[in-house]
């Protein structure tokens, strides 16, 4: 069938036609071979224009077409839909961008802009001559989702997915659920404690028969692509059988002679080698930390459920999508940063929050009563020098909240906040108001003049040139100095490597677009939620979890998934397998296969993104990218390079 090409040139109101002589472009396009029709339009995207194009196609005037208008980012899908509605294949249409690339870029040179537009349109015509109908790739989907991380975001995402009728595998690296929120006694904006919240979420998870929860479980391998991932999970046993009596468990913990630093309390306390973080934390069975256990056997005498014969397991599951909610780590200050690890009464915000939670009647640190507390803000965040340029967003609010709640629990505390400007955004502003009104003092400095922590006569002094008091040097004799540490990405183990998740400049996982595609990653089928993608508070983490759940659901909601067919193709005849393409592929889409006795490369069409990285590295030119074949691109370059 011979090509009958239609060319539609958009004026974009006057966005294009003010600088590009569209008539000239039309006249030049008309002269091209195979072009049977060339029109200008005021707005090609307008309903009436779309109908006109459809009519031209349905009346058999044209069987492929070029739109010369704005960026394809804006309207490619619009005109692809036009093609499909008219009964054409969407790949039988080619787009030329003469707004961003001609009229806007060269508004100072109308002739040049017109000449460039002419060339761009001719190049598009050269490409459309090759256009053929291509069908999208179909994938059989697994109706299950893997959720990594059983913190608030992970648990909320899991229950949300299960409600939509999807099987969910929820894995947690630790032996107890709840993540960071389980460690918080006080939460802003709610009277519910962190413990209460994770317990509530856990109940929702275990009540749902479609969710399978694995604790002590880590992702160790993943293959496949959206709709159909095969993942391997390593499960570390608890070394204690289920249904253990509470009293026996308590005694077993009591007799354990090993004491190690308790990470749950951010190392301000010790725990045993057999432990639970707090008695009511789920799952209720304690766990034996085999790294520190000496196998002395004392606990076995107290509790018959202890079972050292349990073995590590590796399980394989198939899922259609993976939702990553691995959370954050609090920033650990350097030794000497604001006196950290130098003076014994300098601690971090998470430690302070645990300290307030575990103290009952009096607030004591190192056996001494605490009356005056100095909070130093933006430690490890908004760094002038250093990696963490970002604001951790939650710290201002959580510190002020913690200070208010500490004041309610222990009386006569004096709070001094050494800030760089308070950012209690949204409803959290009320806490700032409340704290100020109570007489908590807020001092402020610029980033180049941070507060100083020093020792004077065995007392810890925090000193600041307060910009709210004419840069006056104000010093506070503090019983406890709390470094308000921000969030850093969790040391995830190998998750980002295994899933090939890219990280942003802040080293958190990167979404595709902060506003438009906030929970999707460049790896199709993998979504992210919660603080693993950047500092978030509980509310924001849950919102993003619900959003990610919906996105993950979209990958598994139907039996099959369609994928863009613009992928690399291997010419089996030419390929001699050297592996260069596999190395160049950023998505691990190329694998080595044996085809009738010959080793060749094979592209996993569902993983390939059509980026074209493999094409130039092939020494025998055995790879072609669909719709961007050498012939097409060379012809386009040929046209563009032609002198007019």
């Amino acid at each position: 069938m011979s090509k009958k090409i239609g060319v539609y040139i958009c004026r974009c109101g006057c966005n294009i036609s003010d600088y590009v002589d569209v008539e000239k472009v039309r006249a030049s396009a008309e002269k091209e071979a195979d072009v049977v029709l060339a029109k200008t339009m005021v707005f090609a995207c307008a309903d009436s224009s779309q109908k006109e194009i459809i009519n031209d196609i349905q009346n058999g005037v044209i069987n492929s077409f070029v739109i010369a208008s704005c960026s394809p980012k804006l309207h490619l899908p619009t005109f692809q839909a036009v093609a499909e509605r008219a009964g054409l294949n969407k790949y039988e249409y080619v787009h030329a961008n003469i707004r961003e690339q001609a009229s806007w870029a060269h508004s100072d040179d109308k002739e040049g802009a017109t000449a460039k537009a002419v060339q761009l349109v001719r190049a598009a015509i050269a490409k459309v001559r090759f256009a053929t109908a291509i069908e999208p790739i179909e994938i059989q989907t697994q109706q299950a989702v893997l959720v990594i991380g059983a913190g608030v975001a992970g648990m909320k995402a899991a229950t949300s997915l299960a409600k939509m009728g999807v099987k969910v595998y929820l894995i947690e690296k630790e032996h107890f659920i709840g993540g960071r929120v389980a460690q918080w006694d006080v939460l802003c904006l709610t009277e519910e404690t962190g413990k209460d919240l994770v317990t509530r979420f856990y109940n929702d998870v275990v009540m749902d028969k479609d969710i399978t929860l694995f604790t002590g479980a880590e992702l160790i391998e993943s293959s496949g692509s959206k709709g159909n991932f095969k993942v391997k999970i390593k499960i570390t046993p608890r070394y204690i059988k289920d249904f253990c009596e509470k009293e026996k468990m308590r005694r077993a913990i009591e007799v354990c002679p090993v004491e190690v630093i308790d990470d749950f309390n951010f190392s301000i306390t010790k725990r045993k080698a057999i432990y639970h973080n707090f008695p009511s934390q789920y799952p209720l069975v304690a766990v034996i930390d085999m790294k520190n256990c000496t196998r002395c056997g004392k606990c076995e005498k107290e509790c018959d459920k202890i079972d050292f014969s349990q073995k590590e397991k590796i399980i394989e599951i198939d899922v259609g999508s993976i939702l990553v909610a691995t959370g954050f780590d609090p920033y650990t200050p350097r030794k000497g940063e604001f006196g950290y690890e130098e003076y014994d009464n300098v601690i971090t915000l998470p430690q302070f929050k645990r300290l307030v939670a575990i103290n009952d009647k009096e607030l004591k640190w190192n056996g001494r009563q605490v009356k005056t507390i100095a909070y130093i803000y933006c430690v490890g965040s908004r760094q002038l020098e250093g990696e963490n340029k970002y604001c951790s967003r939650y710290c201002c609010s959580t510190t002020i909240c913690a200070a208010i709640k500490a004041g309610e629990k222990f009386h006569d505390l004096s709070h001094f906040h050494f800030t760089r400007g308070i950012r209690t955004y949204g409803k959290q502003e009320m806490f700032f108001y409340e704290a100020s009104k109570q007489g908590q003092v807020f001092l402020q400095s610029f980033e180049d003049e941070p507060p100083r922590v020093m020792r004077k006569n065995d007392r810890t002094i925090v000193c600041i040139n307060d910009i709210l008091t004419n840069r006056r040097e104000i010093e506070v004799d503090a019983d406890l100095v709390v470094l308000v540490t921000g969030m850093v990405p969790r040391s995830h183990g190998r998750i980002s490597e295994i899933l090939k998740l890219p990280r942003g400049r802040d080293r958190f996982f990167n979404e595709i677009h902060m506003k438009l595609r906030p929970v999707e990653t460049v790896i199709d089928g993998v979504t992210i939620a919660g603080a693993c993608q950047g500092p978030q508070n509980v509310v924001e983490a849950i919102n993003s979890a619900l959003s990610a759940a919906i996105k993950s659901y979209s990958f598994v909601s139907r039996d099959t998934l369609q994928v863009e067919p613009i992928v690399a193709e291997i010419d089996a005849g030419l390929c001699t397998w050297c592996g260069a393409c596999a190395k160049a592929c950023p998505f691990d889409a190329v694998t080595q296969i044996n085809l009738e006795g010959k080793e060749i490369a094979s592209v996993n069409m569902t993983v390939c993104k059509g980026c074209g990285m493999c094409l130039p590295v092939c020494p025998v030119n055995a790879i072609q990218l669909k719709t961007f074949s050498d012939d097409e691109v060379e012809k386009m370059i040929g046209v563009l390079a032609q002198e007019l």
Binding site: I422, G439, C463, N470, R472, I474, E475
Partner: protein, 360 residues
């Protein structure tokens, strides 16, 4: 190097300060204040000093006196931190700082002390009367004598030393220089502000402000005139018709205007009248009672009924003594002196600084 003192803010609350801790230092108050300028910027700075408890800075500052409480700052404060009322409270605090006896502070902080002092005086006078040591004529005579004595002694023993203390804290400690010429040349400031309070008119252009200024102006003149008429011209014993009529007129001015002030404080329609410390109530109520009772006593004299209603004279005397021994030396009355001296001292501080710059 300064250390914050959170007790200071708690103390200020007793002087009438409300919610100033809510301040988040946006500076709106300072921006909207018509009297604040780049050289002397307030009230935010004073709010900040109060939050941090930098009491030495407050004591050495004249800024609280430069504010005439139009209330614009409180109206516009986004945090409802009532900067205007804080400035008012700082003035009360400063009055107690200047007072060497410490009684001002005691009375400001404790309503019960105020009431006890008033009761003590009332019981003293009526007790003395019922003991019968003096007859009515003697009471009238000694009453007049008391007025003269009280004015002289309160001024020399209490107020003069206090003004010197104020000078020491706000001028000497700040400048450490003594240019006699400057002191002399700045003198007009003292009297202009003492008798006109013209600075009030710069607060804003609103009619209510002008009316308020006018009322305050005539009550000051009326009060001074009444004082002169009763003490120097001996109104109660006067026979000259002019003096008698003048006395009626002035006492009427005093009680009518002070009645309006009380009415305003009860309505709480303006920022200035929305918060009233007990000392404010005592001041306006006693002013009213004084004018009213003086007027009534003279009326009884003119009607020849005084001996029949002598208790009314005793009531008037009680009010007078309470006024002269409590409100004048230790209460709100002193703002009359400190405000005008503050303007005077402020000019001295500025001129001294300017002279220093010139000599350098």
């Amino acid at each position: 190097m300064s250390s914050p003192d959170l007790k200071f803010g708690k103390k200020l609350v007793k002087y009438g300060a409300v919610d100033f801790n809510a301040c988040y230092n946006c500076g709106t108050c300072t921006a909207v204040c018509a009297l604040s300028n780049e050289e002397e910027s307030f009230p935010r700075e004073m709010v900040r000093f109060s939050v941090l408890g930098l009491s030495e800075d407050v004591k050495g500052s004249l800024k609280p006196w430069l504010c005439y409480y139009c209330g614009e700052c409180s109206t516009h404060c986004p945090q409802l931190a009532q900067p205007g009322e804080l400035m008012m409270s700082l003035r009360r605090y400063l009055i107690s700082c200047y007072d060497w006896t410490g009684l001002s502070g005691l009375l400001y902080r404790n309503l019960s002390a105020y009431i006890a002092a008033f009761l003590f005086i009332a019981i003293g006078i009526f007790g003395l009367f019922f003991s019968g040591i003096w007859n009515q004529a003697e009471w009238m005579h000694y009453g007049h004598l008391f007025e003269i004595m009280a004015i002289a002694s309160v001024f020399t023993v209490i107020l003069l030393p206090n003004i010197i203390r104020m000078w020491y804290a706000t001028v000497w400690k700040q400048t450490k220089k003594l240019h006699i010429k400057t002191y002399f040349l700045s003198l007009p400031e003292l009297f202009i502000h003492m008798f006109t309070q013209k600075r009030t008119l710069s607060c804003n252009d609103e009619m209510s402000n002008k009316i308020w200024w006018f009322e305050h102006f005539i009550v000051v003149i009326g009060y001074m005139g009444l004082l002169f008429t009763t003490v120097v011209l001996d109104w109660f014993a006067a026979t000259n018709i002019l003096i008698i009529v003048l006395g009626y007129f002035l006492s009427a001015v005093v009680f009518i205007v002070s009645f309006h002030f009380i009415f305003n404080r009860m309505r709480k329609k303006t920022e200035k009248s929305s918060f009233s410390h007990p000392s404010d109530w005592f001041f306006v109520i006693w002013l009213l009672l004084m004018g009213l009772s003086a007027c009534a006593v003279r009326l009884l004299i003119d009607l020849g009924l005084l001996s029949a209603y002598f208790w009314l004279y005793l009531l008037h005397l009680t009010i007078l003594v309470q006024w002269a021994l409590v409100i004048v030396p230790f209460g709100k009355w002193t703002h009359f002196l400190y405000r005008s001296f503050a303007m005077y001292f402020d000019k001295i501080v500025k001129d001294t600084a300017n002279t220093a710059v010139r000599t350098v």
